[in-house]
Amino acid sequence: MVFNRDKPYDTGMAAIRVRDLTKVYQVYRKREGLLASLAGLLHREYKDVRAVDGVGFEIETGEMVAFLGPNGAGKTTTLKLLAGLIHPTSGEAQVLGHVPWKRENAYRRRFSLVMGQKNQLWWDLPAQESFRLHKEIYRIEAGAFDRRRDELTSLLEVAHLVGQPVRELSLGERMRMELIAALLHSPDVLLLDEPTIGLDVVSQRRVQEFLKFYQAERKITVVLTSHYMKDVEALCRRAIIINEGVIKHDGPLADIVDRFSRHKIVELQFTGSEIPPDLDRYGTVTETRPPRVKLNVSRHQIPEILSSLLSRYSIEDVSVQDRPLEDVIAEMFINQQQRTKK
């Protein structure tokens, strides 16, 4: 199914421009115990938390970019700033030429924010009622509305569920309805915050496939935050890694493994059922399933290690792989946390 383009897009310019964006929250520091609670009635101590600290980046029209980082890194705060939900402490941002926190209707008609943990549909009514309300709120022309609703419900395989109260839908069905509501007005920018959180594998894959298809067809600009690396790998070529409010990497997703991982995985299959006991001198044994074994080895030692292994043991099969993106990013965050603690 092919989407009809109802609106022309600006091409050849950044859809999102962010410069030195900072958001500082004042957080109440409560000490432990009842006495501290009583004292807190008279005097409170606040701590400044820099959720986003001088962040800057540009996202071209039609790009799909992943925003990665551990919990509390500043990903969602950045999305909230881009959606105009919160005001920055300092810095600048422009999305489609608009300053988001001015919340002009002209801007709000051109983007959508989908938060995996938030429900925007009417809980007690069928999704079709929410869709109808969106049609009016976003002033969607009747013909375009019918066409888009039918296309989206058919693509996401929920056409038979639009008349069922939202509260009776499964989490996966509800998220697909949320996506439809977010896309009915054909936004130019889509901000997705953990869109597959809590979904089963089948629903996750369906949402992934849909987003990939829709973005390729419509060439909309998408910013995605997700803790599921499978989402990120399936959808994005560029990733911005943020931690403690600061951007740590902005570039191709493929570069992350090269840049942050000093190890590769060597998988060996021995001829017999025995596994030599001294493999740990080559690297860390991460998995043993005789006659197969996986070794985590330093990437610059791979040629000599392979040569040594092949000369010493009877090996039937060998492969060298990059470490999973998930492991590399997790290790990177852990290292950064340890450095901060020191």
Binding site: Y25, L85, L125
Partner: protein, 273 residues
């Protein structure tokens, strides 16, 4: 303009549909609200001693019949001005981040809440009109007849404005949650003040000198003024003055709501995911 009317109409329609989902709970809650009316009539009967050998005549210018009619008319005023769940609902939405959808969609949150409340009231009147008419019919002997058309028109206008004053006060309390997050104590204090100063408990002209001060507050428009208008306690000239002042209060509260919303949104931290 036409598009905005259409949006409001669809909001109203969708809210009406939503209100009608839990019909059993809604009908029960509406009917149960009539029980205090009956008990209050009995209470005033006991105060006036109508079943004793020495019943009271007038109390502060109100006979027992006047008091019953005042109370019934004040309840009609309250049916327009009370806003159950409005302030606490705004506070809950601010606390858990549900208001995000109002901030990201091209829709005015206060306008949406207004039409949501209109739907709430329309469904309430649909269910409550029958029982109200029954109570008024049973108490018809306490009424001294219909006032003139101008007074009736002023009464209808005062009820509509009571709705606006009630809505704007409660939404303003709800918007305070942008700063305090929790407004339940503030709301509790408002409910107590409102019960007393709106004339819901007793007519405001029973309060003596204190009542003179209360006249300068907007709470009287929530119950006392509509009831007093229908009881013919205002001359036509006083009606005009009273409704004009009420109009000014609506403007002041409207502006206060807008300012609180704009400033509140700047404070908003969008907690909860």
């Amino acid at each position: 303009m036409l598009a905005s009317v259409r949006v409001n109409w669809i909001i109203l329609r969708t809210c009406l549909e939503e209100r009608l989902v839990y019909r059993a709970d809604f009908a029960f809650a509406t009917l149960v609200r009539f029980l205090p009316i009956v008990t209050q009539i009995f209470l005033w009967g006991a105060i006036y001693g109508i079943h004793t050998s020495h019943p009271q005549g007038d109390l502060n210018g109100y006979s027992y019949e006047d008091m019953v009619t005042y109370y019934l008319l004040a309840m009609v005023g309250r049916a327009f001005s009370s806003m159950p769940g409005l302030a606490s609902g705004i506070a809950r939405d601010v606390r858990d981040g549900t208001i995000n959808k109002f901030l990201t969609q091209p829709i005015d949150m206060l306008g949406y809440l207004f039409w949501h409340r209109v739907a709430h009231k329309l469904v309430y009147y649909f269910v409550a009109t029958g029982p109200f008419l029954l109570v008024f019919y049973l108490c018809r002997s306490y009424f001294s007849g219909w006032p003139d058309w101008l007074t009736i028109a002023a009464w209808v206008l005062s009820l509509l404005m009571a709705f606006l004053v009630g809505f704007l006060i409660e939404s303003l309390i709800g918007l305070v949650s942008f700063w305090f997050l929790e407004v339940s104590s503030l709301l509790f204090i408002y409910m107590m003040i409102n019960y007393f100063l709106s004339g819901h408990m007793i007519p405001l002209d029973w309060l003596g000198t204190f009542g003179d001060w209360v006249q300068y507050l907007p709470f009287k428009y929530l119950a006392y003024v509509p009831a007093a208008i229908m009881q013919g306690r205002y001359s036509h000239a006083e009606l005009q003055a009273e409704l004009s002042v009420e109009c000014c209060w609506i403007v002041v509260l409207f502006v206060a709501n807008r300012v609180a919303f704009v400033r509140g949104v700047r404070q908003y931290a969008a907690f909860g995911g």
